[in-house]
């Protein structure tokens, strides 16, 4: 029985299932738990910043004139629950959040949640297109640079990606708008649609998708042409980020023995790259895509204003410049939760892609 020495290895998987649950399910449950915990953390941060940090939250909420009247102040404190102990205030705050109440904007006197809900699809559309552009271009450039490392293409791609990481997004937005709209008139100007166009019937809130669903091809073309320039500007930083990281992830994989082994099998270079190298680099690349989403969401705050793109970014910009605290906090909270959700999705993808997570 020459096999007897190896049979020990077979005992391993059998033992592993001792604790029951499917490994992927357990993994996902852990990640979900962590995400929920983080969401609570995010609410804690916004609570602390709204209620404790401003020198005088009452004045921040009421404005200077009303805050001078002690009676109004006292009534406001009572109404807002500010006379209660902090933990109670936090629980009340959570309760309000659960009912979708993010407070009222100091500027517009409208509920913040309502305004954010209105702006959300615009930003989602922009960010999704930008991340798609970033993934396609960034991963391709990173792969190319890694395969041609230390040669001309690598050096050029490196310089380009570093420029992408160094350009201030808000400045680039202004510059592109000036050149391509104001001077050259290649792209349409601000907004999500031309002033004469009528928005497609609301389904997803993404104009490109909605117009296609409604079969309005002109509207689709119009929405797309408005989308391209801001999406490209927004994507430049993340393209740089993804290029750099894809390059180093691919280099890591190229140095692995299994790539050498795949080449020793005589597989064509194309197969080695797509089947062995890219798949090996996929997990780190997906991680970075998750992070890149964060910088995209940050970028929208700096880009949307310039293109008059009525999304969360523009709302946040206006709120920040006007020091509209409830609105700023609302944006922080929503964007934070969206970002946590995206990173949870990344974790899910991880589990699906990597058999070492999926099967024990």
């Amino acid at each position: 029985m020459p096999e007897s020495s190896n049979s020990g290895g077979q005992a391993r998987p059998a033992k592993a299932t001792a604790r029951g649950h499917h490994p992927l399910a357990r993994y996902l449950a852990t990640r979900l738990g962590l995400s929920v915990l983080l969401v609570f953390g995010v609410t804690l941060v916004t609570f602390v910043l709204t209620n404790l940090v401003p020198a005088d939250p009452v004045q921040a909420a009421l404005g200077e004139q009303a805050a001078a009247d002690p009676q109004i102040v006292a009534q406001f404190r009572k109404q807002a629950g500010l006379d209660q102990p902090l933990p109670v205030q936090y629980v009340n705050y959570l309760g309000r959040l659960l009912t979708g109440n993010l407070g009222t904007s100091n500027q517009t006197r409208l509920p913040v949640s309502q305004e954010i809900a209105k702006a959300f699809p615009a930003t989602a559309e922009l960010a999704l297109v930008a991340i798609l552009i970033s993934i396609v271009i960034g991963v391709a450039l990173g792969l190319w640079a890694a395969l041609r490392r230390r040669r001309a293409a690598d050096h050029v791609i490196r310089a380009v990606s570093l420029v992408g990481l160094s350009i201030p997004t808000f400045w680039l937005a202004l510059l592109m708008y000036y050149i391509f709209f104001f001077k050259l008139r290649i792209f349409p100007g601000s907004g999500r649609l031309s002033p004469t166009a009528i928005a497609p019937p609301h389904v997803t809130g993404l104009y490109t998708v909605d117009s296609l669903l409604a079969g309005q091809l002109d509207n689709f073309a119009d929405a797309l042409s408005h989308l391209i320039l801001p999406a490209l500007v927004l994507a430049l930083y993340t393209v740089g980020l993804l290029t750099r990281f894809s390059r180093s992830s691919v280099l890591d994989v190229l140095n692995q023995d299994f790539v050498k082994a795949a080449k020793a099998k005589g597989l064509p270079a194309r197969v080695v790259v797509t089947r062995y190298v890219l798949r090996g680099a996929l997990v780190p690349i997906i991680t970075i895509v998750g992070l890149a989403f964060g910088s995209l969401l940050s970028g929208t705050v700096l880009v949307e204003k310039v293109f008059a793109w009525h999304g969360i970014g523009e709302y946040a910009f206006t709120a920040a410049t006007k020091l509209d605290l409830p609105a700023v906090m609302g944006v922080g909270l929503v964007v934070g939760i969206v970002y946590i959700g995206i990173n949870f999705l990344v974790d899910v993808l991880y589990g699906v892609i990597d058999p070492r997570v999926r099967i024990q």
């Binding site: 020495s5 033992k15 001792a18 604790r19 490994p23 993994y27 024990q360």
Partner: protein
């Protein structure tokens, strides 16, 4: 350093490992018992070889003896006193007499300090102040005194391992542990480095616990040998007895599997009748 008492029944026992168990909790998996009721003892100027294949728990045992691995049950006594696990605090004085030489010669020395000062750290612990000096130690391990001002990366793997041995011996240990100290070296060096470790340990009057997967080399330097498999000690005894007349099935299988460089083209065997 001239203490060359041969290992005998009269020599004092420095290490007593009594029925220790070490268990790990693997994330999301069942418990892993790496060491399962191991007992060992070691006297001054004695060399005990601990042999087994990867994952058998021999390194975990070595680390538990140093206090690097918390015990699930059992006890380790060093010079009659229990070995406490290494915490964030300084290691208690009475435990400084246990020193270790590690497997990987490229990681066993601080890359940013001269080897001379690293050896001096060890000398600082020696109760006999002038037992050794750096130059002597370097010469003992076959290096030149002028090497003391060099950095680790200027040496080969074998040389680094000798430096690590010099540092450990310099402390004047009662117990020296080698955790696979020769596994990363070229075959032609393994025997020599192992013999050097034995000679220096005996010369310094300390006991040597030598962990290795290579029974053929352990045999040449150890007085006694313990064969470990899946966390338990399958067989223990004087090295020649285990080598010539192994009684446990595992030890026989291990011995039979060692390819012998005899030029005969004999394929290492797998005993055919293990069932009994």
């Amino acid at each position: 350093m001239t203490n060359e008492t041969p290992a005998g029944d009269g020599a004092e026992e420095i290490l007593a490992v009594n029925d220790i168990t070490v268990t790990y909790r693997r994330p999301g998996r069942s418990l892993l018992t790496a060491v399962d009721g191991v007992s060992l003892s070691l006297r001054r100027s004695e060399v005990l070889g601990l042999v087994g294949e990867s994952g058998c728990g021999k390194s975990t045992t070595a680390r538990a003896v140093c206090g690097l691995e918390p015990l699930t049950s059992g006890s380790v006594l060093f010079n009659g006193e229990p070995v406490s696990p290494l915490s964030m605090k300084r290691r208690p004085k009475h435990l400084l007499g246990i020193q270790m030489v590690f497997q990987n010669p490229y990681a066993s020395l601080n890359p940013r300090r001269r080897i001379g000062s690293q050896i001096e750290d060890g000398l600082g612990l020696n109760r006999q102040r002038d037992a050794w000096n750096v130059n002597e130690l370097l010469e003992k391990v076959g290096l030149h005194p002028s090497d003391r001002d060099k950095y680790p990366h200027q040496f080969s793997g074998g040389q680094r391992q000798r430096i690590a041995i010099a540092r450990a011996i310099g402390t004047g240990p009662d117990l020296l542990i080698g955790d696979e100290p020769i596994a990363s070296l070229d075959a032609s060096l393994q025997q020599r480095v192992a013999a050097l470790m034995r000679d220096l340990a005996i010369q310094a009057g300390s006991g040597l616990l030598f962990i290795s997967h290579d029974l053929a080399i352990v045999r040449t330097i150890a007085d006694r040998v313990a064969v470990m498999n899946r966390g338990i000690i399958e067989e223990e005894g004087p090295v020649d007895t285990v080598w010539r007349h192994p009684t446990s099935a595992y030890a026989r299988r291990l011995l039979a599997a060692i390819p012998v460089a005899d030029g005969l083209g004999k394929l290492p065997g797998l005993p055919t009748r293990r069932q009994n």
